[in-house]
Every structure is written in C-alpha cells, then in structure tokens.
Subunit: 125 residues, 2 copies
C-alpha cells in the first residue's frame, strides 16, 4: 500500500517530472489522490490542474503524452518523482523542451533554448 | 529583476534540487522570498522549513551543505530548479543520498539504496 501525505500540502503533492533517458527536469506539476491513481493505472502522467481545477492527462491536447517509466516517493511521502518518456518534442506549453528554460544569471533571467513548436498551432485549434 | 509568483502557492515555491554532476534528484524543498534571496546572495541552498517555520540553511546541522551551481525558474515563475554540489555524502535526513529512495513497484514501495550515515549520530548531538 502506498501512503502519500496529501494533508500536509493542502490536498496536492508536487510531482517532479524527469526525462528518464537524459535526466533533464521537464516540469513540475501537482497531483491529488485521483491523479496519482490514474497515473498508476494508465501509465500516462496525469496531474491536477490548479487553474482548471480538474484532472489533466498531460498531452491530451498537444499529444505530448508522458509515458511513466518509474515512480519514486520521497522520505516524507509528500513529493513524487516521475521518470518519463516524453512523447512529442516538448513538455512545456510554451514549446520549450523543459519548463525550466529561464536561467538566473547575475541577478536577472536569461532565456535558454528555443521553442520546438508554436503554441498557437498546437493549442488554438 | 527576477519575478517569482509566490502568491499562487500560498507564499512558498517548491525548489527541485538536482545533483549538478550526475543529474540525480536529491530532494524537494520550499522557498519563501527570503530563502530565495539568501540562496542568491550566499550561494548556499537556503529553504523555508514548513515544520520549524523558519529559514533553514541546508546542512547547517549535518554539514551537508548544498553549493548552488545553477538556478532555473519555470515558465510560470512558480517553481525553482537548483543544480547543486552536495557536500557530505547525503542530502536526506535519513542518511540516504537522495530523499527519493522509495520506489513504487507493483503497487507497493521498495526501499532502494542504503543510508550513508546514521541520522542519530548526525542530528542527536
């Protein structure tokens, strides 16, 4: 039985999403118990969207599904690590491979990398 | 200027901590604005302890300080990625190298790896 501590974090647990092959961090999302169960049962990363207030199968719109290869839980049972195969070219809704494309340098932000797809084409169908 | 969205997450932003050399995820912690500023100014990972309700320089008790090599911010400005050099042998208070030592297998948890130090010796001085 897998006991996760959803209470400490107000019902949602952060899930770190890491590219299984390269180790790159792709994104951070949140799971409620239903999202965690759906991820376990389907093998596709499923999160809770805080903005839309609903379950969210990653890639359901963009096609950029995340196939879950490994799941780890932290010492306190209040954080999740997913190692995934990222289908499509990018995890981020901006078109970047990773959501963490803003690098802190000398007290300001530098954008790294280029978008791999045009969000307008993917999301504004 | 670096604008982080602390409001969306109730004042605390999750910080993913990754071993700069190996790509291994070491832990997930939280930062408030003061913790982020202290991390920037000192180069040592500084978090906000939700249990102790205070700033927490990682390693101040154990000696397992995290030297920050790179900081990244995500697309929505509400998650942080630290790439660090982990001093000492382990990041986790249990003595494990990584806090994510619990692996989900066939619906249950398997402990991976061995503690690298004895928490009783490190914390109960």
């Amino acid at each position: 039985m897998i006991q996760l501590d959803f209470k400490k974090t107000g019902g949602l647990i952060p899930a770190i999403v890491q590219d299984e092959a390269t180790g790159e961090i792709l994104m951070l999302a949140y799971m409620n118990p239903q999202a965690f169960e759906a991820t376990l049962s389907t093998g596709k990363a499923t999160y809770y969207s805080r903005s839309r207030k609903t379950l969210w199968v990653k890639g359901e719109t963009s096609g950029n599904v995340q196939l879950v290869k490994e799941i780890r839980i932290d010492c306190d049972n209040d954080a999740i690590l997913l190692k995934v195969e990222q289908l499509g070219r990018a995890a981020c809704h901006t078109g970047h491979r990773s959501c963490f494309y803003k690098k802190v340098e000398n007290g300001s932000i530098r954008i790294t990398g280029e978008p791999l797809f045009d969000p307008k084409e993917v999301y504004n169908k």
